[in-house]
Symmetry: C2
């Protein structure tokens, strides 16, 4: 698919995904948001709560550090416990250190005051932000995320992650949203492969995908046309239906 | 967590995950199987149907090519259509080429004969296997996966992927399965961070994780102890409950 949209990657940090305990959902949510707002998501990585792995991934993915993509979004590892090392690792990747941020501290203090809690050293850990970063707010938790370089660091708890996505994404300069149309055929992928390959050559400015599935009625295939121009996408879907006599 | 288990990575190949159309589930399933059979899953990557991205990821992750992990499992991109380029890309990463494999061809021919179908050029695409690879069978589809070096290439359709996992994993030399115990507390993570950090130091041979969540009743935290020795894991969980007065 031809696109000048900014490219993006997502880095999910958390042993609970790799252990199979939790099924990843934050990257799936953000993938939908990015496609709808004109960012071209090219890679998702899941790594464990390991400093070296996080640093290497941030460097490989954040374009401002010579990495492969324009923007990097992370999820997880910014809580108050011993295994929350994302802030330190992201700071190290960006060649800086972590300090208690006055703005983040004020947010946490206000929340503690409202709830009659003490701002303990552990709670204060969530105000530790890399030098030079700006805060990412959210409506659920007082603990902020942050942006540094082109790395945007968000929480792992789904409700908080979504709150941060809602706050952050409208502030970023996106591109043209992806338009897509799909149709389901009750045939195996092999039966549609040849006409689809021809159509992919004709509509080389678009992305034509076929996604086979298998259910109690046997094999079927979802055909999906994606592109930035709605009229062109509709034209291609019309051609798909005509060619396959749907 | 101390472990001599073989390390592993999963590479998911497919635009449909990155576009947000499909929520990834194969890596989640395999993560559970790997943990239960003594493999240490360290990374999951999702890339698009792009030759360069797949080649780079295979080289970065397959230890037999100088990559970071002992074993690499892939999902997706081995069907009959124009965008199924996984076999070619994996062959390129391993410095070899793809040919129509006699064994794979026989499997497809037998399936076509049974169903009264012709073995068309598109169906035959699914018999294209890197030179030097061995086949991965499954009970659902006639089209096989394959293993080359330490890269194990499987289908993207969940039923077929699971069939290939069922066939493949028992044949691989695994290690000791991970034992885990968990307990839910109705407190925020900040309230358990300090005792948990102490316990993590005491039980440094284990992994102690805390996974906060937020629901209609407010904040809660799941505490998870993981390790290879069941008695030691039980000992640590006993200490967790005692320390937190659960």
């Amino acid at each position: 698919m031809q696109s000048d949209n900014p490219t993006a990657a997502i880095l999910v940090i958390g042993d609970e995904i790799l252990s199979g305990r939790t099924r990843e959902g934050n990257a799936h949510h953000l993938a939908q948001v990015l496609n709808a707002t004109g960012f071209d998501l090219r890679e998702i990585r899941v790594v464990s709560d390991d400093q070296d792995q996080i640093v290497a991934a941030v460097r490989a993915l954040d374009g401002s550090l010579g990495g492969a993509f324009d923007l990097l979004f992370t999820s997880g590892g910014i809580g108050p416990t011993h295994d929350d090392i994302t802030a330190d690792a992201v700071a190290a990747a960006h060649g800086t250190t972590v300090v208690v941020d006055a703005g983040a501290r004020a947010l946490l203090q206000a929340r503690c005051d409202r709830m009659g809690l003490e701002l303990t050293p552990n709670r204060l850990r969530m105000a530790r932000i890399p030098v030079g970063a700006t805060l990412i707010d959210n409506a659920v938790s007082a603990a902020p995320g942050f942006s540094i370089g082109q790395t945007h660091v968000m929480a792992g708890v789904p409700e908080v992650f979504r709150g941060m996505v809602d706050w952050l994404i409208p502030k970023l300069p996106g591109g043209r949203p992806v338009q897509s149309l799909s149709v389901e055929v009750r045939r195996g992928e092999s039966d549609v492969a040849e006409p689809l390959a021809e159509l992919a050559r004709e509509f080389s400015d678009l992305s034509l995908g076929s996604y086979p599935f298998h259910d109690e009625r046997g094999w079927g295939t979802n055909l999906v046309v994606r592109g930035l121009d709605a009229a062109r996408v509709a034209e291609a879907m019309h051609a798909v239906k005509q060619r396959l006599a749907l």
